[in-house]
Symmetry: C2
Subunit: 169 residues, 2 copies
């Protein structure tokens, strides 16, 4: 076994999205059992100009999707940001998992030097190698949003632990 671009991406996204799904399920159950409006959690944020929980989940899912697609050399599927409930967020995660499950090691492995352009045509345009895009950009951003979602829920008293965040592997 040798470390590969596939091993360092898709299985990690699957693990962490599974964890995020479990964390959100506990949050939904927490709200239901205490008769808390789900929006009190979905729209919770740690500071006025930070993303609320709902957006953190959308963005985490988007990093999993776009990073996997770009290193596989396939088009990034576009998912509309229409979610308004925990059920919607679970569906978004499911849809993201379904997409990344279509990607094979054969598509992703060997993408270390693949030229990847982000935010093309904007002042923030940046060229990455596949390896740097995954390790130095994609993963740090992805983990940022999965952890932020968890932190918002912990801050609001939802009983989740790091084991929930980590997911199964």
């Amino acid at each position: 076994m040798t470390l590969s671009m596939y091993q360092a991406s898709v299985p990690v996204f699957k693990q962490m999205l599974g964890g995020l799904s479990g964390v959100l399920a506990k949050a939904e159950a927490h709200a239901a059992s205490r008769k808390i409006d789900p929006n009190a959690l979905l729209q919770a944020r740690l500071y006025p100009d930070m993303f609320a929980l709902l957006r953190q989940v959308q963005v985490a899912a988007d990093f999993a999707k776009s990073v996997s697609a770009r290193i596989a050399g396939v088009d990034v599927p576009s998912f509309e940001d229409t979610e308004t409930s925990f059920a919607d967020l679970q569906a978004r995660i499911e849809k993201t998992l379904a997409f990344i499950n279509t990607l094979t090691a054969a598509q992703i492995d060997g993408s270390e030097e693949r030229r990847i352009l982000t935010q093309a045509g904007t002042p923030k345009e940046k060229i990455f190698s596949g390896q740097s895009y995954l390790l130095n950009y994609g993963m740090p951003h992805f983990f940022f949003h999965t952890t932020s979602a968890y932190a918002i829920l912990r801050h609001n008293g939802v009983e989740v632990g790091k084991k929930d965040y980590i997911g199964n592997y």
Copy 2:
């Protein structure tokens, strides 16, 4: 260039610890300019049973140190948790960087199948392959604590952005 255990570990830890150092420097300057007791930030936490900022930084640094050491097959150096100030935390990060900078690609590469035992002799003892230890355990935990440190500071009004968190690469 092929993805390697070294590339997927040491340079990422260096990038993110550099980011964390920059975030902490901004937090210290924020406290000084507003005459805030630094402990108001260092002891801030998002929920009573979560780690405070100071502990998040110690633990982030410890994951960088222990994961790098174990995949390199060298003893994990022991650093005492004696920090009480921003300067101390910067020194802890420096000391961690100095250690991981001693590790070479030759020591770490090829460690995918290295047997790694965590929490040996405890009920939580777990055996990993080097690759799984890095990707499925070490990195998720490391990013959890760097992001949590950032989130605590954002929640307390420190003006940092995701660019600070991401660091230089």
